[in-house]
């Protein structure tokens, strides 16, 4: 029989990987909760009518569709079949699909439960999503998203708190980051300013690449997409804006002073940055006028987080949107949200070796098994340790010492307890520190102290 395998683009998570992932999710969860966000979960399967048409034509193709149960061929005609593997045939064979992100299910949730919800609604959601993308390094067909959103409130205080959340999460991780902020209205203002309001998509798409491809290529791309030379020249001062946030704000305010939308965007960013000043975040918040992000969706402030000590793309992002639920017939609901990129954060923590030892450890002490009588004695001591909150294992079989010690090494347990006849007589336990190799006889209470102190 062939060794079994899993579908391409999916992953098993081993105990050590899970411990690391749990450390990430728990940290994010705790910080979200500190700010009063409340968790929800939605089903893995949504009706395809909920999912289709929300992610563009390309997205529709990337949805995993679930074959109808029972007589899935009912109602399907020869004509349908002759079309081949069309979207229409797929829609007849399948009425459900796996969620593609957490945003559309959240929008569906808000509309479906609107009568029960008290606005503002601050929710977070940490669940896997599925995309039939071509798998490649760092891109998976199943991956977790960690989203927090506030809907039903226009207040910029929400933006301020989301910045604090980002700062707190990365401070807890020990990852130094730069938190970039911009505003979609500033980008609109710029398009207006250079006299090409209709080219806003092309302009922001090009500007977004400034970091990667450089100013000359951005200009070439702009020209290519039909922005005229004069307009491109008018953009030049934008690329030259520099200095701290206040100087950049002053410069862009001046540039956009005659554009209402642009000025509003400047005002919004200013309000957020001013409110953050006295809060003394640990990480830098930098105005980045070239930051664009998913333009069609966001309408106000936008954010993106870059790790400072590792070369990797954005590890967190978000922004304000004006119309989350319009697609489901409930217009005018504004909100703002962020999403932590758990897989990338995992890579950064790995590269910088930042996992706290305690978070990724399983048992804290392992009792070697010397036989039936000894194991029975150890069971009682293990109970005492567990009651004190110490994660305790007894090796279940009284096999060779070498095998038991090799298990101890495999699970990276910091202490091994040895209880033989002499220990049963004295009531003391021989405890070996696996790091130093040191071994001494200890009472149960002293073991508890020792392990707690290691925390």
């Amino acid at each position: 029989m062939n060794k079994p395998s899993i579908p391409k683009g999916t992953r098993d998570f081993s105990p050590i990987e899970m411990a690391k992932r749990n450390y990430i999710f728990n940290t994010i969860r705790e910080v979200y909760a500190l700010y009063g966000f409340r968790q929800i979960e939605t089903p893995a399967m949504e009706n395809l009518s909920t999912l289709m048409g929300k992610y563009g034509e390309e997205g529709d193709k990337l949805l995993f569709k679930i074959l109808n149960s029972g007589d899935f061929m009912r109602g399907i005609t020869d004509e349908d079949l002759n079309e081949g593997a069309s979207g229409r045939l797929a829609a007849q064979l399948c009425e459900k699909g796996l969620r593609y992100d957490l945003t559309v299910p959240f929008a569906r949730y808000v509309v479906q439960h609107r009568e029960e919800l008290q606005m503002p609604f601050k929710r977070y959601q940490i669940q896997p999503v599925w995309r039939a993308d071509r798998p490649q390094k760092g891109r998976y067909r199943e991956f977790y998203q960690c989203d927090a959103d506030v809907v039903g409130s226009d207040s910029l205080l929400n933006e301020v708190e989301l910045m604090q959340i980002i700062d707190t999460v990365f401070t807890r991780f020990g990852i130094r980051v730069s938190i970039r902020i911009n505003n979609r209205k500033i980008l609109t203002g710029m398009a207006n300013y250079i006299g090409q309001p209709d080219k806003i998509v092309e302009i922001t798409t090009a500007i977004d690449k400034l970091d990667k491809i450089g100013i000359d290529n951005v200009k070439a791309e702009l020209a290519n997409s039909g922005v005229n030379e004069e307009s491109i020249a008018k953009l030049q001062p934008l690329f030259e804006i520099s200095g701290d946030n206040d100087s950049q704000l002053a410069a862009i305010a001046e540039m956009l002073k005659d554009d209402e939308t642009g000025s509003k965007g400047v005002e919004e960013v200013k309000t957020v940055l001013e409110a953050l000043k006295p809060l003394e975040l640990k990480n830098e918040i930098a105005l980045d006028l070239t930051l664009a992000r998913g333009l069609n969706y966001y309408t106000g402030c936008i954010f993106e987080v870059k790790a400072l000590d590792v070369e990797i793309g954005s590890i967190t992002g978000g922004g304000r949107y004006d119309n989350l639920t319009g697609i489901f017939g409930m217009p005018g609901l504004s909100g703002v949200g962020i999403s932590f990129g758990a897989d990338r954060i995992y890579d950064v923590l790995n590269q910088l070796n930042l996992y706290p030892q305690d978070a990724i450890q399983s048992a804290q002490i392992l009792f070697i098994n010397f036989g039936t009588a000894e194991a029975a004695y150890c069971l009682k001591i293990a109970s005492q340790l567990r009651q004190a909150g110490i994660r305790t294992e007894i090796y279940p079989d009284s096999v060779k010492m070498k095998k038991q010690m090799s298990y101890a090494n495999a699970i990276s347990v910091p202490f091994v307890a040895l209880v033989g006849e002499s220990e049963m007589e004295s009531g003391l336990i021989s405890v070996k520190d696996m790091a130093s190799g040191e071994q001494k006889q200890m009472a149960v209470d002293d073991i508890i102290q020792l392990i707690r102190a290691k925390h």
Copy 2:
């Protein structure tokens, strides 16, 4: 536009439901970890070749199958189509399916990763599973399983520790339970004893119903399934065995003394019960000779947990099996496991109203928003509270007091903080206890003490 909905048999979990579910999962997780179990996760999607044929013909029909991406009609002939919605056609359209339980993916995981795994392998897994069952009260198409297993060890110490885990979990929940234990070998021994070893399935199936249908109906069912009268009469003493575990063990040992398998089963149960005696569990462990459970799978001790104060089926179960991975070509791997029924535990905790207040609470204090200057002042205080670990919210908009208080009630926050001009001058904060209605002025440190004391 119609109000959007979710597929039948699936559920959204609101913040309060999620908080309750997290309390359940976290409690189980913590106890598993206390005993050195380590978490793994496997993908939602498995290859259908992994899933098919593992759950019987009925189970295969209940698998959710995922339509192949891209040209799903490739290679499908008219002949295939003429068959209609057959299993064969489904297998051509779909190569992946959603997992149906956690056991088969775990077996697949063990075989796939056998070179990396150190035995014994103690894993737990808490993930949703999907079944295309007809939805009905208490039965869902998506639900969580919470499994722990030790594989690669024959030691009965594992059974002992699993009993301790069950006892600890339900003690933490405050649910009084009876933990029933039996052994598959005892059931085999009985079938041998009455001279009908070939009728073991029918006998255990009938005996398993004793509680529900009574002794006369059990006998009728046995007769119906071809067990002869003499054999049924020989079973009679079994139904009359009573008393405490020791007396029952003595009686069944006597009855099965000439049957090797049966005697081994008695010995195994005895060993487990003896080892548990000095550990003084909080809940009763009761030998139940009529307990049968999924006969074809289990081969040694079997367990089942009943809540004492609520009428509900089994809320936890498990047992030992001899051949987890044989289906994937790796024979002879023995293991023992348990599975907590999260949905039923949820119902029990709800009925008995046993959720600790702190576990289901979101924010611990909410700051009322009186305007821009006040909110800015509150942001700093909120930061201090959060640094002290207090879950703190500021109402984002400075709307009418009534609306803000209605929000406070909706999220069940125990304290509301009011900071107006006079508070900003005095540096003290007006804190209202939402339960008593009492309001007093307090310093930040005193608020921290107050809320911590409420824990």
